[in-house]
């Protein structure tokens, strides 16, 4: 049981956890009710799964250039996932594809009803 075997096994376990997170995201996509809740299931486990897969690659290949290649991948994914989720969620709000009854707070409608600079 040398170091290489241990690191390979750890990377396989990380890959398994990443795959399970992908599965959780897909199950949430099917089970949940409307676009914002599906967005909630789609964005978060996916990014964590990708981070775990990148960690597994780094542990499996064990070279610093690969790590330097993987860092921008993770950073770009962390930067762009909220961007697309924000755009899709806003389009869903305007589209009327969300369940109005299920909203606890609707700050966007309050902001649209209150005119700017009304001192409220």
């Amino acid at each position: 049981m040398n170091l290489d075997t241990v690191l390979d096994t750890v990377s396989l376990v990380l890959l398994l956890i990443g795959a399970l997170l992908c599965l959780i995201a897909s199950i949430g996509l099917v089970r949940l009710r409307d676009v914002p809740t599906r967005l909630h299931a789609a964005t978060k486990p996916q990014v964590l799964g990708l981070i775990l897969v990148c960690l597994a690659i780094a542990l499996s290949l064990r070279s610093w250039p690969v790590v330097a290649f993987l860092v921008p991948v993770v950073l770009i994914q962390l930067a762009t996932a909220p961007l697309s989720a924000h755009m899709v969620g806003r389009a869903a709000y305007r589209n009327g594809t969300l369940d109005e009854q299920s909203l606890v707070a609707d700050e966007l409608r309050d902001a649209q009803e209150t005119p700017p600079a009304s001192g409220d």
């Binding site: 390979d8 096994t9 990377s11 396989l12 376990v13 890959l15 398994l16 990443g18 795959a19 399970l20 992908c22 599965l23 995201a25 897909s26 199950i27 996509l29 099917v30 409307d34 676009v35 599906r38 967005l39 789609a42 996916q46 990014v47 799964g49 990708l50 897969v53 990148c54 597994a56 690659i57 542990l59 499996s60 290949l61 690969v66 290649f69 993987l70 921008p72 991948v73 770009i76 994914q77 762009t80 996932a81 961007l83 697309s84 755009m87 899709v88 806003r90 389009a91 869903a92 305007r94 589209n95 009327g96 594809t97």
Partner: protein, 89 residues
């Protein structure tokens, strides 16, 4: 070791199939955009997993390009989607 690899591949396959179900069923176009985003990230995960299992680095540029470009799909769909689509939810 080999059993673990087969379990990983099976879990990835089931996840992709379940996301495909949402793309086919999904009532509005925004549901399909979200599901396509999920499927794209799963493709990234599968490419990375294959690289980690087989110990090579040939998929790294693909990973970087998908991470950089993949966001534009759902952004442009969300930007140009109609205000009201007629499909019942």
């Amino acid at each position: 070791m080999t059993v673990l690899i087969w379990i990983i591949l099976a879990v990835f396959a089931i996840a992709a199939l379940v996301a495909l179900v949402r793309i086919v069923v999904g009532p509005s176009i925004l549901d399909r955009a979200v599901a396509a985003d999920v499927l794209l990230t799963e493709v990234m995960c599968v490419l990375g997993a294959e690289m980690a299992i087989n110990h090579h680095t040939r998929n790294l540029p693909v990973l970087l390009i998908i991470a950089a470009v993949g966001v534009f799909g759902s952004i442009s769909i969300a930007r140009f989607v109609a205000r009201k689509d007629n499909s019942p939810r």
